[in-house]
């Protein structure tokens, strides 16, 4: 019985982890200056599920890493960006750690 409980707990944890993305990547219009990035970063860091934020002007990219077991809905992300004065064009959820996203951006810098 105890073994079954452990198996169920592990399975539930694995399902939860699989259902939430490690990183959310957003393509954003109007992202042309450091002050834009600063405002977006400040806004997203206030969301309780946010672990880290990366903003890249070259790729018009805003990436958010999530705290374990937490998520931010697309509508909340769009609202956060709209409240910052910017327009979200696309949202992609990946399992890529944000450190890898940062490295990828460095490698593709012009």
């Amino acid at each position: 019985m105890k073994r079954l409980q452990i198996c169920l707990t592990v399975a539930l944890f694995a399902m939860t982890a699989a259902s939430s993305a490690a990183t959310i990547e957003m393509t954003v219009n109007g992202l042309v200056c450091a002050f834009c990035a600063q405002g977006i970063e400040k806004k997203l860091k206030k969301l309780p599920a946010t672990a880290e934020v990366v903003v890249n002007l070259e790729h018009r990219l805003v990436a958010v890493s999530l705290k374990d077991g937490q998520d931010i809905s697309d509508s909340d992300l769009r609202k956060a960006l709209a409240d910052s004065g910017y327009t979200v064009k696309a949202i992609a959820r990946t399992e890529t750690p944000i450190a890898d996203v940062r490295e990828r951006l460095k490698e593709t810098m012009p």
């Binding site: 109007g30 200056c33 400040k42 002007l57 910052s84």
Partner: protein, 215 residues
């Protein structure tokens, strides 16, 4: 009468906003200080509860380069982002603002209530920048307008966390006798993170400089 009018013109010019945008970002505070070619020294502070408006005020000291008259204005102001276009690789904005203040100076007695209204339109990519601003000032003693055009070119595309460099050409026109002709200036603008520094020289050989901090 002429003295009052000239003094009013001086007061009007002092209230001209700095060249930067009057709203940085939501929940952001902007502090700006400008040294305007020996004719204007200004300190402003604005807080933006949202991305589309900010409130605050400032203080300016002004000395006319025509006749040495001075004015000192303390004012409160509301800035509003009337419209923003977020394009793929560019952003364009239209700002409007209005406010009220109190002016004193060496060309009129006591203090004068001042009011102002203005607008700014700008377009920016990571390599080019253009801005046109007009600022109208009125009181019982004066009515005047200041127009400022800025064109900027970045030698490279900066990214967040890096140093941004801009070469900026500025042309400013004052109505009436505040300044003779159009004042032009060549400026070097640097910013990184929340700090912005800008300095250059006018066609009259005078220093034009500004510092701005967003946090």
């Amino acid at each position: 009468m002429l003295r009052s009018f000239l003094g009013a013109c001086v007061a009007v010019a002092i209230a001209a906003p700095a060249t930067a945008k009057p709203i940085a970002y939501a929940d952001g505070t902007t502090v700006m200080a400008e040294y305007g070619a020996g004719t204007m020294q200004e300190l402003q502070i604005f807080y933006a509860p949202r991305f589309d408006y900010s409130v605050g005020g400032g203080h300016v000291d002004f000395t006319s380069d025509e006749d040495g008259r001075t004015a000192h204005i303390t004012y409160a102001r509301l800035n509003w982002l009337a419209h923003r276009w977020n394009l793929d690789t560019a952003q364009a904005n239209v700002f409007v603002w209005g406010g009220a203040g109190s002016a004193s100076g060496n060309s009129f007695g006591g203090s004068a209530l001042t009011g102002n209204a203005g607008t700014q339109a700008d377009y920016e990519t990571r390599r080019v920048y253009a801005s046109f601003k007009t600022d109208l000032q009125r009181s019982s003693e004066f009515s005047d307008r200041v127009d400022t055009l800025q064109l900027g070119l970045a030698p490279y595309k900066h990214d967040y966390g890096g140093l941004a460099t801009w070469f900026v050409f500025q042309a400013r026109h004052y109505t009436d006798n505040l300044h003779s002709g159009i004042e032009t200036a060549a400026l070097l603008r640097l910013f990184k993170g929340g700090a912005w520094l800008e300095a250059g020289v006018t066609n009259g050989g005078k220093l034009q400089a500004m510092a701005m901090f967003n946090f």
